[in-house]
């Protein structure tokens, strides 16, 4: 062990090698990076964020304000506390100046989340938590016990206390092993409860592979979010020690007394050789005695109180430790680290300087009330404790043990914590409706000396001649000193929140765990008010920092959002289709022809697909359209109320196009309505709105018109749909469906027939979204691929995608909801007066058409645009102005281009646009600013192709 000069004798464990700031070190299994660094005598671990001052390890847990490190290997991870990084072989880390560094390569690790339910969640596996969990678990309750550390025991890990005659750490380990063996108990180690939300929804993160370093199994999620729904929560979260503001209280070598005790006992590391102890309470005496026992020379204990605990003082006297009551440490001194400590009597007498390389500080203990506060609980100031403790809450949560401030003297007493934990367990059981277990023995702890009350000292006042308070730190991590707090209050700030923001105190990585109350104390001091009156800043989740990746879990990449595909998807993919995301669906966008040389580009592919549809025969996978079966005697009445046009007059066997508006009169969705029977309709919706339209229907039915006897059932995926389009579509269909009479009289436009197509039961609809003769063939989606393959089998049908579909419909002036509308467009704006019934007394949206704004003549109308240069393609989203030269901005816009394409059929480019008063402008020349140019265009009707509708019958 000679390579670890500060390691106590008798330490055992596997030797681990690591590198810090470029130097090789050895540590032991069970070490944190902090304990290993201390064992190697590394005092300055990082430098401070603002002043660049050297900083050493200050604490032993997640409250650490100073020792921030960057992990370099096995994978870069920014800003962790050396006190919470478990040591592993091959760890490479560097100390940080307050800013971390992200990796520049993708994180290969896996992350996940899991839901859990329990009767009682116990947060913290210290003495109170174990006691609570034991009581609850043995009564048969479902219990989750979560603790942030690798092993249970909480405060017992840092002390040399015994329980039932065993070392506390062993007791805790055995208890928890026994608990974990119960069928309804789950013990979560390395699991930090981060957030406590409404209805006892509690978020925790388990670190599962970090401590394994490069040995972490590849298939195992590195971090796991636990989403816990608990009937009762017991917060046994213990306390954090705080420090005191005095000159030089940030020097490496200054350390919280309890932390030093933990290093000596748990890690068998000496944080220094010769220590001064500065305390406001009895707990530091135990620390001093443990350290003395471990071989640290305790030069003196400076106690701010006149009357420390008698038994503690006596024990110190026995060991020859000098106790200076009524004294304060006025300064820690040294170059880069502590070399001496200045101790001054509070009343009279001069300072004396004591050589020491370690200064242990205890400014009292603050219960960890973060989660209680997050859960909506109130906090109240406890005078004895000098801290805020849990008050009222409406959630089923309570604190237990030191988190509740039991003990009464400002320091933790083991017995009180055990008993309080067991009581909390009993209360949780009762509240969750479990029978009370027979008396459960609380383990017996050693007799603890009676504690004397703590005194709450926040600030050691600077001497008159050195009153700048420039090194009296209140927030070590944000480099905030008393001087800055005084400046803030001097500037007129009276709220602790304002001071926090003015100074940044409490906003760093540690969220002010050691400094929050201290800052409040100093502010109160400066303002001359009570700490209690000042209150605290808000406790916000997460309790400790959590990685973005953990929260993202497995919802990344392909699993980020469901990819929805049709039954024909594999064919499209194999054929080399490019896909468009339409909502969650992948739809073929276009099918570049594959062959020798470079593939076809989009423009060429779309022109080819369009020509095939207009001149020959083409097919599209239209399966993604939403489909809803609407059934019931009142179905027709219902649809009459939702659509702007009349549906009740539709004949069985026929099909009608319809538009739905919101009550404000704006177009919401469109599609076809097929009448299958007197009391049965099949409604289609746009792909993106399928769920919204079904919800819409259910909302009206259930909340407004419960008297209507109508049921709506989604059949979107029951059916796969092939749109077969083009002058030769009839011929292809006839071949596929020899039993179907396909001539125009037998099967007219806007009707449907049941038929066998390619040997598959099908419903064939004569619908056209292109203006051409066209059919939509619907089959059970099990047969979707078979149908598609049959359609494609002859090789004469050209597959086409959404882009071609868009061009074809735009040539016909058919709008796409969501592209040619934006939530501010009425059917009349779209030139669809004809679809707005005048006969029906009411339908959703009707009243809004009579509002002042919806009847304005200068509303934007859907019109066609022909660029004067037929080769110029207007960008979609281009705007329109009246003049051929742009005046100074702001220039009023007349409207904008919603759709713009090259048309094979027209032999030129064209566009659709929403233009103010557009219908009255047909024939006018307008200008579209495109880059630096103004492109002249002529306004036309929005129907540019086959306005007579001559082509739909083939």
């Amino acid at each position: 062990m000679s390579v670890q000069p500060y390691r106590r004798e008798g330490a055992s464990g596997r030797v681990l090698r690591f590198r810090f700031d470029g130097r090789e070190y050895e540590g032991l299994e069970g070490d944190t990076l902090a304990s290993a660094l201390l064992a190697n005598g590394v005092r300055a671990v990082a430098s401070s964020v603002k002043l660049g001052r050297p900083r050493g390890v200050y604490a032993a847990g997640c409250e650490e304000p100073n020792a921030l490190v960057q992990i370099e290997e096995p994978f870069p991870e920014p800003m962790l506390q050396a006190t919470t990084v478990e040591l592993y072989d091959g760890l490479v880390a560097t100390g940080l100046p307050g800013q971390g560094r992200l990796a520049d390569r993708p994180d290969p690790a896996r992350y996940d989340a899991v839901h859990a339910h329990c009767d009682v969640l116990v947060v913290g596996a210290g003495p109170a938590g174990i006691a609570a969990a034991s009581v609850a678990a043995r009564a048969g309750a479902r219990v989750i016990l979560a603790d942030e550390r690798p092993e249970p025991g909480g405060s017992l890990l840092g002390t040399a206390e015994t329980l039932d005659g065993r070392p506390g750490r062993e007791w805790a380990a055995e208890e928890v092993v026994a608990l974990a063996a119960l069928p309804e108990v789950r013990v979560l180690r390395r699991t930090t409860v981060l957030g406590h939300y409404d209805d006892n929804y509690v978020i925790a993160v388990e670190r599962r592979t970090n401590h394994l370093g490069a040995q972490a199994p590849a298939g195992m999620a590195r971090e796991r979010v636990w989403r816990i729904r608990a009937r009762r929560v017991v917060l046994a979260t213990g306390g954090h020690e705080r420090f005191v503001a005095f000159a030089g209280n940030d020097l490496p070598g200054v350390m919280l007394a309890g932390a030093a005790r933990t290093y000596a006992n748990r890690y068998r590391v000496l944080p220094g050789r010769r220590a001064v102890v500065f305390t406001t309470n009895d707990s530091a005496y135990a620390a001093a005695l443990d350290l003395a026992g471990a071989g640290v020379e305790i030069a003196a204990i400076a106690d701010v109180r006149q009357a420390p605990g008698e038994a503690w003082a006596a024990r110190c006297a026995e060991r020859g430790i000098e106790v200076l009551t009524g004294h304060v440490v006025t300064a820690a001194k040294g170059e880069g680290e502590v070399s001496s400590v200045e101790i001054t009597p509070r009343v009279g007498g001069g300072a004396r300087e004591v050589p020491a390389d370690l200064l242990l500080v205890s400014g009292g203990w603050t219960p960890v009330v973060h989660l209680f506060s997050q859960a909506g609980g109130t906090l109240r100031y406890d005078e004895e404790l000098g801290a805020f403790t849990p008050g009222e809450t409406r959630q089923a949560v309570e604190a237990a043990g030191f988190a509740r401030g039991v003990g009464g003297t400002g320091v933790r007493t083991l017995r009180a914590c055990l008993e309080d934990g067991a009581e909390a367990g009993r209360r949780a059981l009762a509240a969750a409706g479990f029978a009370m277990p027979a008396e459960i023995a609380v383990p017996s702890a050693e007799e603890e000396p009676a504690a004397a009350p703590a005194e709450h000292l926040w600030l050691v006042e600077a001497p008159e001649n050195d009153g700048d308070y420039g090194t009296h730190f209140v927030d070590l991590q944000r480099d905030v000193t008393v001087a800055e707090v005084l400046r803030a209050t001097g500037a007129g700030l009276t709220s602790v929140e304002h001071v926090k923001r003015y100074t940044t105190a409490g906003t760093a990585h540690d969220q002010g765990k050691t400094s929050g109350l201290l800052t409040g104390g100093v502010v109160a001091h400066a303002l001359g008010v009570d700490v209690a009156e000042l209150g605290t800043t808000t406790f916000r989740a997460p309790y400790t920092p959590v990685s973005f990746a953990a929260l993202a879990g497995r919802d990344r990449g392909p699993l980020h959002d469901p990819v929805r595909v049709t039954a024909m998807h594999e064919w499209h993919a194999a054929r080399g289709a490019l896909f468009e995301n339409v909502g969650q669906w992948k739809r073929p966008w276009y099918y570049p022809r594959q062959g020798e040389g470079p593939g076809e580009d989009m423009e060429a592919a779309v022109l080819r697909e369009c020509r095939a549809a207009r001149e020959d025969v083409a097919a599209m996978d239209a399966s993604t359209l939403g489909k809803i079966d609407v059934i019931g005697p009142d179905a027709a009445v219902f649809l009459d109320r939702l659509y702007t046009n009349m549906m009740s007059t539709l004949k069985v066997g026929s099909i009608r196009y319809g538009v739905m508006c919101r009550p404000d009169g704006m177009v919401f969705d469109d599609g076809t309505v097929i009448r299958l029977a007197d009391d049965r309709f099949l409604v289609t919706t746009t792909t993106g709105n399928a769920a919204a339209v079904l919800d819409w229907m259910e909302e009206w039915l259930q909340t407004e018109w419960p008297d209507l006897r109508v049921c709506c059932t989604s059949v979107t995926e029951q059916w796969a749909t092939v749109a077969l389009v083009g002058p030769r579509s009839r011929e292809v269909l006839a071949r596929l469906a020899p039993g179907l009479a396909v001539d125009n009289d037998s099967f007219p436009f806007m009707t449907w027939r049941d038929a066998e197509v390619a040997g598959i039961e099908a419903r064939v609809c004569r619908i056209s979204f292109s203006g051409e003769l066209a059919y939509e063939i619907n089959v059970s989606s099990w047969f979707g691929l078979a149908l598609w393959e049959a359609v494609m089998a002859s090789g004469e049908v050209t597959p086409y995608g959404t882009e071609t579909m868009h061009v074809l419909r735009a040539e016909k002036g058919f709008p796409i909801v969501g592209q040619d509308t934006d939530g501010t467009v009425t059917p009349q704006d779209l030139g669809m007066e004809w679809i707005v019934s005048k006969k029906k007394p009411d339908f959703v949206g009707k009243r809004s058409f009579a509002r002042a704004d919806t009847s304005r003549p200068d509303r934007k109308h859907l019109v066609g645009l022909l660029p004067e240069d037929p080769g110029v393609l207007l960008p979609e989203g281009a705007h329109l102005v009246e003049t051929s030269a742009l005046p100074e901005p702001p220039v009023p816009t007349l409207g904008f281009v919603t759709s713009s394409y090259r048309s094979a059929a027209l032999g030129r480019t064209f566009a659709l646009a929403l233009v103010s008063g557009g219908r009255e402008r047909v024939g006018e020349r307008l200008y579209a600013p495109v880059g630096a140019d103004l492109v002249p265009v002529t306004v036309t009707s929005h129907v540019l192709y086959d306005p007579e509708g001559a082509r739909r019958d083939g």
Partner: protein, 92 residues
């Protein structure tokens, strides 16, 4: 993540529900008879109290039923749930 007691399915996570805003706002019997002001009130104005609020939810990921709840918007506590058509229960 609230735990919302669906009157049929029992308590489920908030993420399974769709929020429907204020309850008991009936579609006007004769919209044509309303003034523009009255129609605007129906379209756009809803109560927004800090405190108890009768509101609508739909259990979209479950039974797809709409129902009403009385929730305290200051604390998110749900005091009652009841079915559409039932009167708002008296809550504390």
């Amino acid at each position: 993540m609230l735990l919302i007691p669906c009157p049929w399915c029992g308590p489920r996570d908030e993420a399974e529900f769709h929020y429907g805003g204020q309850a008991h706002v009936a579609y006007p019997e004769d919209p044509a008879a309303l003034s523009d002001e009255e129609w605007a009130r129906y379209l756009f104005f809803r109560d927004n109290p800090k405190g108890l609020f009768a509101e609508r939810w739909s259990h979209t990921a479950g039974c797809r039923r709409w129902f009403n709840a009385v929730r305290d918007t200051a604390t998110n506590e749900i005091h009652a749930v009841y079915r559409v058509g039932e009167p708002r229960p008296v809550t504390a």
